[in-house]
Symmetry: C2
Subunit: 347 residues, 2 copies
């Protein structure tokens, strides 16, 4: 598939693996890149040595394009920004702030720059600063979130800029990928979907928690403090919500939040912050990164061949004859030529 | 177009006009139904006499299927539920509670029942109770909202039930309609999009506020009280947010909220609660209800004929050559046969 995003990034599939702090390391990023997407090493808060090591390690596993993510609130962002120019990195995605002071340097180093934004106003500002594309991330995402949902955010961002838009938040399968393209995106970014793949080194307990989650099992902590983070409901989240709006409990809060992601990543899924998006509710398989990318793309392409009416027919078929669909239609034949009677009130 | 939703409701287009308390009256509902969608009169909190009058008035304007919405928290819901069986109503949509005690009565009266839900668990419960279809409403909607966004909610609900799913929240044009179908829906419900149509009797100032809104101009009030409502940012919303979490200011809050929707509907768009969804950011035209339905359907059908790659090409074309697209492509010719060069890093 060829879109402005695949051309810009030099990848085969317009699928970016969302940066997940302390989780997306060389192994996951290289697996995604090797499978034709764009793998992204999350540098947020990590020592610079770790970043250099991870990039070098990823390079032993793939020679395809590779990305790194910079959390701009990170106090060492300036050093990291410079380091990335020296390393063999093709793409930088940025979050939590404005990359204004680094863009010229990165572009000089032939690095593509894709800021993550949460509104059309931010997108327009990033375009003016020289961003190559925009990652528009909806509030359904895991980790740090904005307020706008993908369904409203992506069309608004597309109305506002001329550079390509990548949709993030709510995309975990071919249905979400086609929806993102329908809304105006030319690529997608998925975080949660890659949490449970085999190449992801997060603790097994974390994966189990994501695989077992229902759609309504996420919650946003820190809304009152201005740093909203979406994670799965657990003891940590309940405690955080209980004390987060009480000014008298700031010290307690500080203690609770400190190291909360690290705890979850290493397997303490009750006492840590198990960051995940709302699509955890539809992620129920492990797969490999390559299977995720191939499966998502194939499903989206198959659905994209259907007219609106045929899409509805496929949806009806999927709902009413789930078992049949799983074995016959999705795995090969063309759902758009398969007709089911459209039922009356008995559905 | 024929989907399980059009068959179930007896309509031409699988587009339901979302009930908006104090706003969607006979005039708006009849216009939507007459245009081929399903118009819905919002009964929430209104006197029963008003409901009877509005249904009778709508019937002078259309003989097509017509819906009514019941807010189940409404103390007079039992009387209203009974009244709707006597009136000439084809469909009931329900919100804010469980319609368990009314479903048998409605079905006996040959009324189709579509509960609005905010999670897969609720959807499953409604299916067991005998609902004919599910309206899965994302948090991007206007008015009373849940936590799940449409991108995550709709696939999760589709995975959970066999009856048809209608997507609500984030749908205001053909892009959103196709996205909803991609996610698994067989119909859409739009509220905000119908706020600004000519047949909507809401105050002109309210329409202006919606037409002028950016994507980030909505806010949720009442989250702490367990009754979250999405409205446009204004003096009312700022005051509500300031006092809503302070137990000592309950009386003040009561005073502020009392009549806040009525104030907005009659034109006080600073002191009232101007309920609207996040898609207010992409609604910038008035149109008629018929134009909205025809335009949304035509755009969705056009986009649905494109492969994933061609969708990306259309999106690129829309972004880079907006003026050309507006005059030539959208108004007639087929965007999927129009090629634009996929650009490099200069977008």
């Amino acid at each position: 598939m060829r879109t402005r995003v695949t051309e810009l990034l030099g990848v085969e599939a317009p699928i970016i693996q969302g940066a997940m702090a302390r989780i997306s390391d060389a192994r996951l990023a290289a697996a995604v890149s090797e499978a034709g997407g764009l793998g992204v090493i999350a540098c947020g808060g990590a020592p610079l040595d770790w970043v250099s090591e991870q990039v070098a390690e990823a390079r032993t596993m793939t020679d395809k394009p590779l990305g790194a993510n910079v959390m701009l609130m990170d106090p060492q962002a300036p050093e990291l920004a410079k380091l990335l120019c020296e390393l063999d990195i093709d793409v930088v995605t940025t979050g939590a702030g404005s990359p204004a002071e680094f863009i010229a340097m990165w572009k000089k180093a032939d690095i593509r720059v894709l800021p993550v934004v949460a509104s059309a106003t931010q997108a327009r500002r990033m375009e003016r600063l020289g961003a190559d594309a925009i990652i528009a991330e909806g509030t359904e995402s895991g980790g740090h979130v904005g307020e706008l949902a993908t369904m409203a955010l992506v069309p608004a961002v597309c109305n506002a800029v001329r550079i390509p838009v990548v949709a993030a938040g709510g995309v975990a399968d071919g249905r979400g990928m086609l929806a993102a393209f329908a809304l105006g995106a030319e690529g997608v970014q998925c975080g949660t979907r890659f949490l449970t793949v085999e190449e992801c080194t997060v603790a097994e307990a974390y994966k189990q928690k994501v695989l077992g989650a229902r759609d309504s099992d996420t919650i946003v902590t820190g809304r009152d403090s201005g740093h909203p983070v979406r994670c799965l409901k657990n003891r940590f989240a309940r405690e955080a919500r209980k004390i987060e709006s009480d000014p008298a409990r700031a010290a307690e809060r500080e203690h609770l939040y400190s190291g909360s992601l690290a705890r979850a990543v290493s397997g303490d899924v009750e006492g840590g912050s198990v960051m995940a998006g709302q699509v955890a509710g539809i992620v129920s398989e492990r797969k490999t990164a390559a299977d995720v990318i191939a499966g998502m793309t194939a499903e989206a392409e198959l659905l994209a061949t259907c007219s609106l009416e045929k899409l509805a027919t496929v949806n009806a078929l999927r709902n009413t004859q789930r078992d049949l669909l799983n074995t016959e239609v999705v795995q090969g034949s063309d759902p758009c030529t398969t007709h089911v009677p459209t039922g009356g009130s008995n559905g």
